[in-house]
Structure formats: structure tokens, C-alpha cells
């Protein structure tokens, strides 16, 4: 009873708004928008350096871009895939997916258990329809139609005596639902792997051993629910590391390329177990103790011996140097805490094939140890100032003094294998004994990867089914024609979406129904004089 000038509209309450939001969130249009947003959102992670992949490069980039760097950092551009806005996009997408797929599953379940719908009364109005007159009674035509459609693997039902309804292609929607639900399985597998998995990296020089305990890793990253005490204590000894580089092909980009890395190991699965020899190559990891051992890096560990002035050894062993370029120009440090009188620190370069370039100084021109050399400078003093943690490969020279030569410039030591250098001032000597290699092992445990793989393959199967299978309905209607004993039969088809083959199916069904009904009528006509007619005489029109 409103005043004609006031505008009245239905108003949405809180429940109404909630329903509206949910319906829009789970709509196809929103899903489309979120998918495109996900694609765009993933791009910055490939353009800007990511902290989880290369922290050094990331800090370098921020340092080189003092204005843009911190802003992008705060916006999460250097940790895109862990950032809240990226997570928001894919979480919304998955809520949309679940909210759409579950009701659709209910609808599909009901459709799978129900019969095809009633035949429309005017079949000629459908786009794909065909009509013919058949020399057979309506009952014979209906029976023939049912057989033909059942033979074509349709689900057939007659709602009345003059019509047949058929439907097939339920696998399309089943495949669609399986695909979308399997994506959830992928997410579950990824989550389990993240929560219960762990990874660690360790550098093991040739001849040394490593045991799978927390303290022996160089870096160790456990998932949030991992207890490091439950690691299985297998041990690995690196016996030998073979490395082969391209020496024959001299074309651009080929000479000096790595060709093979193989690590020969001796492993035991637990203390006291029988040792077994294994080989680990780049594409052939070792599976031990539920974890995978991967050969991800390698490099050189020159073996040096440092003696004091009296000739006693203060340090002897391989020292890993880290490669900086493709020719394995490596940097590292030798820290001799027991040197006499003061602790010594050597820092510098190891070059597997050493050459002194006019502009760049000492460089390596080939990655294999063809002409190895060490180029070092020496410091003495406090190696571990303040007890602070420091990198094994870098000297902290804040409380050290550099040794100088007679002219007053920094002391430069150049050693080739077998050579010894006498340090000035009675500090002893350093000998470059030989060149060893080290294996960079990455050890990972991912309990969710099986789930992810199975879910991904299920998704692929569901996807193929949903794209290839055609969902169709075929209807047949019969009516008696003039001149008794004849029937007008109309066949029509309805497809879900584009279907180029439907017209042909309709025409083929009509043809087969006609043939079959005529044959049935002919047999019945022939057999009328005879009381019993063997049913086996009827020929299959399809053969």
C-alpha cells in the first residue's frame, strides 16, 4: 500500500548479501577472472629475483636499486609465491572451485540415477532432426529405435508408447568433476610435503663421510611439523667424484660445457649396517632412508698442508673452494687456528686451468684441472672475532693484519701442486699437495609427492574425458501414417554445447531404425502364414 511517489525495492539482509557474495564467488565469470589474475600474479616471480631461489642475487638487486628495491620488497615482489596477495588469489580460486564443484556433483549424481527427459512434442523444431516413413507398425519402430540406441550405448527410456528418449555422455561431466576435485588433491599433496618434508644441503669432499643428522648439514630447512630428531641416521662416504667436460667440440657455447658428473659413494642405512656402494649422477638420485640424495653441485677442494717454523703440521686436509663461474674459478679460505705464533688465515682463488689475464688478473680458462694453481694472500690475527658465526669460505679480517712482502705490498702466494711457500718472519710454510673434488649433495624428504602425482594424473584423465566425450540426447517419436501399416518416425538430437557430429548421428540413427524396423516388419509379414518362425532368421541390419 505504498505511496506512488516513493520507490520501494527489495532489500537484502545480511543473509541475502552473504548468499549474493557466495553465488558470485562461485560463478564461472569470477573463476575466469581469478584464473587470469593468478596468471598475472605469478609473472613477477619470474622477472625479479626471488629470495627463496637465490638470496644473494636478490640482495644485490635491492642494493643496486635503492629507490625501487625496498618498495618492491615490502610489496612482496621478492617472495611472490609466499606472499599474502598471491595466496589470496589461489585460495579464493579454490574456494570458488569447491563451492561450484560440490553442488554440481550432487546434481550430476542425481542425473546419473535418473532417466532421460520426456521427448519434446515438436521434434522438428530442434536444429538436428530428420524424418522418414517406414513400412512397419509403430510398435515395431519403437522397438527398433530402442535396440538401435541401446546398441549405440545410450541410456534409453520410453515415457509413453509413441516416444523414446535416450541420453549418453555422462562421462563428460564425471571427468569434469574428477578433474576439479583432483586439483584439490594436488594442493593437499603439496601441503603435506611442505608440512612434513625437509631438505638439507651438505658439501662432502672426496674421502670424507656424512651422516644424516641435523648437526652435519651445512643448511637444513625442516617443515613446520618435522622433528629433526627423527631423521634416519644413514651415512654416506664420498669415495670418488668423476667430472667430464667437453674438450672436442670447439663451437660457441659447447667447449668446456659439463658432460658428466658421477659420485661414487659407500652408504650404510644405519650405524652398524652392511655398507653398500652406490653411484649418484645428476639424473639418478640415491633413495635411502625415505629420502632422496641428489648430486646438485661439485667443485674443487685443494689439499694443503700448513706447517709451523719447527716443521710440525698445524693444518692438513682438503679445503672446499666455491666456483664462481663456468670455468670453476673458485674462492675460499684456509683457516689455521693452531698456527704458531698467531692464527693464520689464507684467502684467495683456486684456478683449475690457471692463466693470468692482463685485465682480469688470475682466471681459469677451462673447468677441468688441467693446470691447477692457488693464488692466496695471508692474514694473521684473530680468526673468529667476537665468536660471531662466519662463512667457511670468507675470512673476517676485522681483527687481522695482512702480511706484506719486502717491498711493503700485500704478500701474493702462487702455488702449483707439489710446491711449498715459506712464509716470511718464521711463520712456517704452506704446501699445495694435490687437488681433490667435493660433492654438493642435496637431501630431500617429501612425503606428499606421491599424492600430488596421483592427483595430477587423475586430473589429466578427467580433463581428457571432459573434453573428448560428447553429452547428447536423442529423441524418437512415431505416429501412424496414412495407408495402414506405415509409420512416420522423427529422430532429433540435442547436444550440450557445440557438437559437429550430432547431425550425422541423427541421420545414422534414423537410417538404422528404418532398416531394422523394415526388416522386422518384413520378417513378421513372411512368418505370418507359418505358425512358428525361428527368430534367428532375422538379419542384423548393421552387419
Amino acid at each position: 500500500m505504498a505511496d506512488s511517489t516513493t520507490i520501494t525495492q527489495p532489500r537484502l539482509g545480511a543473509m541475502g548479501w552473504a548468499r549474493w557474495t557466495w553465488r558470485n564467488l562461485t560463478s564461472m565469470r569470477t573463476a575466469l577472472f581469478l584464473l587470469l589474475l593468478l596468471a598475472i600474479g605469478a609473472l613477477p616471480g619470474s622477472i625479479w629475483p626471488q629470495r627463496s631461489i637465490d638470496p644473494a642475487r636478490t640482495s644485490d638487486w635491492i642494493a643496486q636499486h635503492p629507490k625501487a628495491g625496498p618498495v618492491l620488497d615490502r610489496l612482496g615482489f621478492f617472495e611472490v609465491y609466499a606472499s599474502p596477495w598471491f595466496a589470496a588469489i589461489y585460495l579464493l580460486l579454490f574456494i570458488s572451485l569447491v563451492g561450484c564443484v560440490l553442488p554440481r556433483s550432487r546434481v550430476h549424481w542425481r542425473a546419473m540415477r535418473s532417466t532421460p527427459p520426456r521427448t519434446p512434442s515438436r521434434l522438428e523444431r530442434l536444429d538436428d532432426s530428420a524424418r522418414a516413413e517406414v513400412d512397419a507398425t509403430p510398435e515395431q519402430v519403437v522397438a527398433a529405435a530402442r535396440e538401435v540406441l541401446r546398441g549405440r550405448r545410450f541410456r534409453v527410456h520410453s515415457h509413453d508408447e509413441a516416444t523414446v528418449s535416450a541420453e549418453n555422455g555422462y562421462l563428460k561431466e564425471t571427468g569434469n568433476l574428477v578433474f576439479h576435485l583432483a586439483l584439490i588433491g594436488v594442493i593437499v599433496g603439496v601441503a603435506i610435503g611442505h608440512l612434513l618434508g625437509w631438505k638439507g644441503d651438505v658439501i662432502v669432499p672426496v674421502g670424507k663421510s656424512f651422516s644424516n643428522t641435523l648437526s652435519q648439514y651445512d643448511t637444513f630447512a625442516p617443515g613446520p611439523w618435522v622433528n629433526p630428531d627423527t631423521l634416519q641416521p644413514f651415512t654416506i662416504t664420498v669415495d670418488k667424484l668423476d667430472a667430464k667436460f667437453e674438450e672436442n667440440v670447439t663451437g660457441r657455447g659447447q667447449f668446456g660445457q659439463p658432460r658428466d658428473f658421477t659420485a661414487h659413494l659407500t652408504t650404510t642405512t644405519s650405524p652398524g649396517a652392511k655398507p653398500t656402494t652406490e653411484t649418484v649422477k645428476v639424473n639418478h638420485p640415491l633413495e635411502i632412508g625415505g629420502a632422496g640424495v641428489f648430486l646438485l653441485g661439485n667443485g674443487y677442494a685443494p689439499v694443503v698442508t700448513v706447517k709451523d717454523a719447527k716443521g710440525q703440521e698445524t693444518y692438513s686436509g682438503p679445503v672446499p673452494f666455491l666456483a664462481q663461474d663456468n670455468n670453476y674459478r673458485s674462492v675460499g679460505a684456509i683457516k689455521v687456528t693452531g698456527a704458531d705464533p698467531k692464527p693464520l688465515g689464507f684467502s684467495g682463488l683456486f684456478l683449475p686451468t690457471a692463466v693470468i689475464d692482463k685485465e682480469q688478473g688470475p682466471i681459469s680458462i677451462f673447468p677441468d684441472a688441467k693446470r691447477p694453481a692457488l693464488a692466496l694472500t695471508v692474514y694473521e690475527g684473530e680468526l673468529l672475532p667476537g665468536g660471531r658465526p662466519q662463512s667457511v669460505y670468507v675470512l673476517d679480517t676485522s681483527e687481522m693484519t695482512q702480511l706484506k712482502d719486502a717491498k711493503g705490498s700485500p704478500l701474493r702466494i702462487w702455488l702449483e701442486p707439489g710446491q711449498t711457500y715459506q712464509l716470511p718472519g718464521g711463520r712456517g710454510s704452506i704446501t699445495f699437495d694435490s687437488v681433490d673434488r667435493f660433492a654438493g649433495l642435496s637431501i630431500r624428504h617429501d612425503p606428499g609427492k606421491g599424492i600430488t602425482l596421483v592427483a595430477a594424473l587423475l586430473a589429466l584423465a578427467g580433463l581428457i574425458a571432459s573434453l573428448v566425450v560428447r553429452r547428447r540426447r536423442v529423441f524418437v517419436r512415431v505416429s501412424p501414417a496414412e495407408g495402414g501399416g506405415r509409420t512416420v518416425v522423427t529422430v532429433a538430437g540435442l547436444a550440450k554445447g557445440d557438437d559437429d557430429g550430432l547431425r550425422k548421428v541423427v541421420e545414422q540413427v534414423l537410417g538404422e531404425v528404418t532398416t531394422r524396423a523394415t526388416a522386422a516388419a518384413g520378417t513378421t509379414a513372411d512368418s505370418r502364414p507359418r505358425a512358428t518362425a525361428p527368430t534367428g532368421t532375422e538379419m542384423d541390419p548393421r552387419s
Binding site: G253, Q257, N283, A459, D498, D500
Partner: protein
């Protein structure tokens, strides 16, 4: 035969293929030019076809499906007697030389593989050659089932361009692979990636023509595109290609993840190439979604698929070269 000789023959095959594709491209262009009717014939034809359309519409509902729809569904350009003999023979030469070019590329790929004793798919050069081979062979094989002469120019042209880039910019001598590429997964993952890229290329070419024809039809301007198959059937052709290429790309993604676990210790590292593969997958998924959404027009869906193809090009040409990651091998 020594390895160098085989590699030399492989390059020779490649150059021959490029020469043959040039001929094919020119002949396809002559065919398309021959589709353009002379101006006076075009006016007369428009008048008769308009009359035909009126007659069909005014009649009783057809007993079987009407003829124009049938022709449209068959997807062939309306040939008719107007197609000159020169254009017809140009089309014949074009399809034969496209076949020859594809087979020469196949020979080049096989010879290169024999010269290095491995599957020839280890760097950008080999990827480009194999991709061009699959594109032209897929086009040729598919054109035995339906008339695709209208698409020929837009396939041979890009193929020639890619082969030119391969020879001029991405060429690298035949040699062994890096250790991380020495795996049977190379055959599985990268070959399926190349095949799906070839199919995406065919689909993108068809989609481009669809959008052009649709724009011309809506503006009412006459053009050679009127002699192409009608727009909805071109769009359905492109959709058919996409639904083959998309599951193959999904398989590429899965196989890549399995291989990544073997080679790099983790099945997903957010490496730039992995990210772009995922982005391509998501964009084409958006295309399939948009085609199934009733409110979104086919033109919008077509533009989304072209955005996906742009990502495919970036994934190959930009990510390998400019973005640092585990897929960038300095051997290139």
C-alpha cells in the same frame, strides 16, 4: 659417415626446407590472391547469394538440415567456378611443397640426431627446428582430412621466420648434452612440449583469422576473407585444436615436474620456465572456461587464447635467454 658429415647434411636439409617453404609461402599467397573475385563478378555474386538466402528462409521448415548450414559445417571456402586455374594450381603447388618442406625438416632432425647419437632436442636451435617440423607436418596431415588451404600462408610464413631465427640466432654446433639433460625424460617432456607448441601455433593462426573475419563481417566491408570458411566454423576448428593441445600441455607440466624431482631434487622450484609453463596452462584454462561460460562472447575467448599464445612465445624466446633460472643453459 662421420658425425661432422651427418651434421653437415642435417644443415643442408634445413636450408633446403627453408627454400621449399619460401616457394610454398608464395604459392599460398597466390592462391589467396586468386580468391579475390574481379570487381564486376563480385557485385553480381552478392546479388544472387542475397536472393538465395531469402528463398531458403521463406520456405517451410526443412525436412533435413539446410544446405548452407551443411556447407558452413564442412568448413570449406566457397570455391565455385570463379576460382581461376592459376589459383587452383598455385594451391596445389603450395600443398605439395609444404609436404616436401615438412619432410625435409624431418630429415634434418633425424640426421642431427644421428650425428650426435642422442634425441635431437637439447638446445633452442633443435627445439625450433623440431617445432617447425611438427607444425608443418601437423598442418599437412590435417589438410588431408579437410580443406585448409586458407590457413597455409599463415603457417608457412611463421614457420619460415622461426627457421630463420634458428639458423641466424640460435644455431649451435651438434654436440653432447649437459649432464642434467641426459635422461629419457628429455624425450618425453620436451617432445610433448614441442608437439603442443606446434598445435597451439596452428590454433593461434586460425584464431587470428577468425578474429579478423569476424571484425570485417561486423563492419560490413567486403574482403578476401569473405571467401574463407565462415567465422563460427573457423572458431570451432581452433577450439578443436586447443582441446588436443591443452591436455598435451598438462602432460608436459606433469612430466616436467617428475623430471625436476629427479634432476633438481624438488618437483616444483618456481623456476622462471616452470612459472611461465604454469601461466600458459592457466591462461588456456581460462580460455576453456570462457568458452563454457554463457555470458562471455566467442571473441573474448579468442583474445584470451591469443594471450596464451603470446605467453608461449615469451616462454620460448625470452625466458631461456633473459631470465636467470635452472632452464637457462649457457650452451643455448
Amino acid at each position: 659417415m662421420t658425425n661432422e658429415t651427418l651434421a653437415g647434411y642435417a644443415n643442408l636439409s634445413l636450408y633446403s626446407a627453408m627454400a621449399v617453404f619460401t616457394i610454398a609461402m608464395v604459392c599460398h599467397a597466390i592462391y589467396l590472391a586468386g580468391l579475390l573475385p574481379a570487381r564486376d563478378r563480385a557485385v553480381a555474386k552478392d546479388a544472387t547469394s542475397a536472393r538465395e538466402r531469402e528463398l531458403v528462409g521463406a520456405g517451410a521448415p526443412a525436412e533435413t538440415v539446410s544446405a548452407p548450414a551443411a556447407a558452413a559445417a564442412a568448413g570449406s571456402p566457397t570455391d565455385g567456378p570463379e576460382l581461376s586455374k592459376r589459383a587452383r594450381s598455385a594451391a596445389g603447388i603450395a600443398s605439395t611443397t609444404t609436404w616436401l618442406g615438412g619432410l625435409l625438416l624431418l630429415a634434418s632432425v633425424v640426421l642431427r640426431g644421428l650425428s650426435v647419437d642422442r634425441w635431437p632436442l637439447g638446445n633452442m636451435f633443435e627445439f625450433a627446428v623440431m617445432g617447425s617440423m611438427f607444425t608443418s607436418l601437423a598442418y599437412s596431415i590435417w589438410s588431408t582430412r579437410r580443406d585448409l588451404r586458407w590457413l597455409g600462408l599463415f603457417i608457412t610464413g611463421p614457420v619460415l621466420l622461426v627457421l630463420g631465427m634458428a639458423v641466424a640466432v640460435w644455431y649451435t654446433e651438434a654436440a653432447e648434452l649437459l649432464p642434467s639433460l641426459k635422461s629419457y625424460w628429455l624425450v618425453i617432456h620436451v617432445t610433448v612440449a614441442v608437439i603442443s607448441t606446434a598445435l597451439f601455433t596452428l590454433a593461434a593462426a586460425a584464431t587470428g583469422i577468425y578474429l579478423l573475419k569476424d571484425a570485417f563481417q561486423r563492419s560490413g566491408r567486403a574482403s578476401v576473407l569473405d571467401r574463407f570458411p565462415d567465422a563460427p566454423s573457423i572458431e570451432r576448428t581452433a577450439y578443436g585444436l586447443h582441446i588436443v593441445a591443452f591436455p598435451l600441455w598438462t602432460f608436459t607440466l606433469i612430466a616436467g615436474a617428475i623430471w625436476a624431482r629427479q634432476a633438481w631434487a624438488s618437483y616444483w622450484n618456481w623456476d622462471p620456465k616452470e612459472v611461465w609453463t604454469f601461466v600458459i596452462w592457466v591462461v588456456y584454462a581460462a580460455y576453456l572456461h570462457s568458452r563454457a561460460t554463457s555470458g562471455i562472447s566467442r571473441q573474448t575467448a579468442a583474445w584470451i587464447s591469443l594471450a596464451g599464445y603470446a605467453c608461449v612465445i615469451v616462454n620460448f624466446a625470452v625466458v631461456n635467454v633473459f631470465f636467470v633460472g635452472q632452464h637457462s643453459y649457457s650452451g643455448l
